[in-house]
Amino acid sequence: MRHDHLITSKHLTRADIEAVLDRAAEIDADPDAVAEKYAGSLLGLLFFEPSTRTKMSFETAMKRLGGDIVDMGSVESSSVKKGETLADTVRVIAGYADALVVRHPRQGAATMASEFVDVPLINAGDGAGHHPSQTLLDLYTIRENAGLDDLSVGIMGDLKYGRTVHSLAYALAKFDVHQHFISPESLQLPREVVYDLHQEGASVREHDALEDVLASLDVLYVTRIQRERFPDENEYQKIAGEYQIDLETLEGAQDDLTVMHPLPRVDEIDPAIDDTDHAAYFEQAHNGVPVRMALLDMFLGGERQ
């Protein structure tokens, strides 16, 4: 990989992405081969906002590599509560650990934090900005289910504040993928992201209704429309209902449509879809471990035995 840190998928080349996915596939196939590879190594987990899957999958990944974690714990129980800056916190924990994973509610937090440390830093979400390790497991899942070229991918829901969406869009732009963004007007993709995608020459179209594009999709990536974004509950109910899918919705889809979701879901995907061949979201979550093992392997020392 070209960089010492993983801040945004924007800076990953297609070759970088394929290297991580290929390594993840190797590890997935033979996890015992790396079971003790990082014995004695420590990963620092700094989560300044709640996380279940991302945090636990990094923790699991590190332990499956034979290493261990040091966890800052919740913001309430840490020195952040006393007013310590992110810059100071990462500087201190970088002295304890061999790599850091940072989630923070402010955009650009990982970029700034990376300027204060000399160990690898992985961005596990910076506000509405980026979430590149999620993207890598998303891509791994897409590759397993549908391949990564000559593809139509629909991304639906809260595209404005959804960091997983931004990271995924940047990464898909490196492949031969037609991207369709489906959202209410108020939650469209940020103009900055659209600007970048156009600069990359990506194939991008925006829609306000899933039915306009569903039949052409190979993958449908659903995200949660967050209630707290709407000052008016009625307005939320009206909009959210239009972006939920159930078995009836999928009657208009290709038989091999892959449905994904970064989770947690609330009511965007009817549980009746869970038992169909369309559902890939739990597989997607499980893929977080081998993909993050691959990432840690590459950042912690690559070929070190």
Binding site: H104, R106, Q107, A109, G127
Partner: protein, 155 residues
């Protein structure tokens, strides 16, 4: 009446900098960038909405006793991309050049994104990449195309 006649409305200076061809209405923002608020000894003359062959209407700022640094000129270029910088020594123009837009500016603009890490309490200096038609925060990536002057840090 020629453009030169209009320029005479603003008195000549002995030593200092004349910033000419500033887009109409931007003179006060130029002063803000230079940190000039009238509290120091600098003698400043400002011409606003002066007729101009090149810009139709332009502003002129003359600052006595001070030659601008390259950093100041870089930032000026964001709001006055057509400006010419004349360095005056003993009433003569010692050098004259157009501003050039830098690749980035550091520490002079405040990001308008309230959730950007640079607007919190972190020990970080704001940094913006300069685009053809605006600026972009190097941290949160917000693009600003209009009202860039409103982002100037008050010094």
């Amino acid at each position: 009446m020629s453009g030169d006649d209009h320029e005479l409305r603003v008195s000549k200076i002995r030593d200092g900098t004349v910033i000419d061809h500033v887009r109409g209405g931007q003179a006060l923002n130029v002063l803000a960038i230079l940190g000039i608020d009238g509290s120091e000894d600098e003698e400043v003359s400002v011409g606003m909405n002066v007729p101009s062959d090149r810009l139709a209407r332009k502003d002129i700022v003359k600052v006595s006793g001070r030659e601008l640094s390259q950093e100041e000129v870089d930032v000026l270029s964001l709001i006055a991309p057509d400006a010419t910088i004349n360095i005056v020594r003993d009433y003569e123009v010692a050098s004259k050049h157009r501003v050039e837009r830098p690749a980035e500016v550091e520490g002079v603009l405040t990001c308008p994104n309230a959730t950007c890490i640079t607007t919190g309490d972190e020990p970080v200096t704001s940094r913006f990449d300069v685009l053809d038609d605006g600026v972009r925060c190097a941290y949160c990536e917000t693009i600003v195309r209009e009202s860039i002057a409103e982002l100037i840090d008050s010094r």
